[in-house]
Subunit: 242 residues, 2 copies
DNA sequence: AGTGTTGCGTTGTCCGACAACATGATGATA
DNA sequence: TATCATCATGTTGTCGGACAACGCAACACT
């Protein structure tokens, strides 16, 4: 038996730049908000040329680990749930997921999240939700886009009430996807606004009376209703959302 | 009241490269698997120099939209759920989520996913799960790392059985996080292996008899058990997993 | 106060160059 | 003829230096 050697990796220098800086951020050596050295300084410290260092910086940029700040300098930034959700949902949408997959995920996750949301919902958040709901009701907008925005925002507020960044990130991704998919059918479903309003109202009532089962129940109904919207709009539920 | 103007943005050329190529991939003009033009060709086509084009390529690379293939060329690639999950979980872990947040998400999502998994589980997948389970049982490994791997793989197989890429991507992120968090406590929980084996066995039984409620129930128990592991290992559940 | 001006540091882009490497063609050898 | 070594070519990774555009701060001016 011969000894097997690992294919020794010689990662390009620009990747090393990325890895080193990422590790420093991870380890806490580079704290959030501090400015990265200028490109010229990085060149000195790494012993590389600007072209190479800059390629590494592009990787950091795309990874959302740094952010352009004052004077175009880079500042360290830990990606927040919104960034994570945005890139996740973008990749998924791009990957060609179907209406059905999005809907089913919604149907699987949200009702069970509602139990937690009901327990953890603060009075402050609840009144915020109620306010948004009322604003949506009173703004008698005919613009389908506004309806989608209001529907998605409702989900966002619920997700935020969970006080859990992991759940939040996952549900936010989902919310973006549901927004993208709703946008494609909302124009053809005239009664959508009323149905959404009614569903939200029932869910809010359940939240106010701290009734976990009712909250779950009406959320499931709400999501089921969204599915009916696809049928009304006559979109094939197995079509890709993009 | 003064009129407010949008801050007019002039994106740098390397970003334009990224956006243009991304749009081409999205629109389908660049199909998966086809090779990107060489850097020199891209320079000609965009009217830019290699340094600039390469910065754009680094963005595409980090976004997982292209992949190095034969002869180091770039090939178009739509990100699959594994890539999405990896970057999602990495960002979250980096964002400093706690053991409790990860655990709570598991507890919220998996039991309700089990109902769907039970319905959709194919005989083939089920026997695959059973095989892995038996292999884990018979490999009387003492290596804590192997135990974690087996536990995570079990979750992965369940998630895969859902036949839903959105759910899969979300649960995969979660699986990576649970792996990372388990790795930190498994060494201090000597009975973990047995408890995990027993839990898996019960879940598999429920899956075989197509009993959704039992599957949900034992999965909830399983996850609850994982939480007990944190207590045994005396880790503060509100600590960050990294 | 508010408004030019000037200067400096930094980033965005360009040019040209070369070594390292993979691929495919060429040629030598059995 | 088949196999293997060698070389030419194309592509990427890295380098060095260069310059324009831009942001910021300090200053001078009204």
């Amino acid at each position: 038996m011969e000894h097997k050697f690992e294919p020794l990796k010689k990662e390009p220098a620009y990747l090393k730049v990325y890895n080193v800086v990422e590790a420093e951020i991870l380890s806490g050596a580079l704290k959030e908000g501090v400015a990265l050295p200028t490109e010229a300084d990085l060149c000195d410290q790494f012993g590389l040329t600007r072209a190479t260092v800059r390629e590494g910086l592009r990787l950091l940029e795309q990874a959302d680990l740094v952010e352009r700040g004052a004077a175009k300098r880079f500042y360290v930034k830990r990606p927040d749930t919104e960034d994570v959700a945005a890139s996740t949902s973008k990749s998924l949408a791009l990957g060609g997921v179907t209406f059905h997959e999005v809907w089913e995920t919604l149907y699987t996750m949200y009702p069970s999240a509602m139990a937690l949301a009901t327990r953890r919902m603060s009075g402050e958040r609840l009144s915020q939700i109620r306010d948004k709901h009322n604003a949506f009701r009173e703004a008698e907008t005919a613009d389908p886009g506004d309806v989608v925005d209001a529907a998605v925002e409702f989900f966002q507020l619920i997700a935020g009430a969970l006080e859990n960044r992991v759940l939040l990130a996952l549900l936010q991704s989902l919310n973006l996807l549901i927004g993208a998919s709703l946008r494609q059918v909302i124009g053809k479903t005239p009664k959508a606004r009323d149905r959404i309003l009614k569903a939200q109202s029932r869910i809010i009532d359940a939240l106010e009376s701290k009734d976990e089962q009712q909250a779950s129940h009406w959320m499931a109904k709400h999501i089921d209703d969204l599915k009916r919207g696809y049928a009304v709009a006559e979109v094939d539920i197995n079509r890709k959302i993009l």
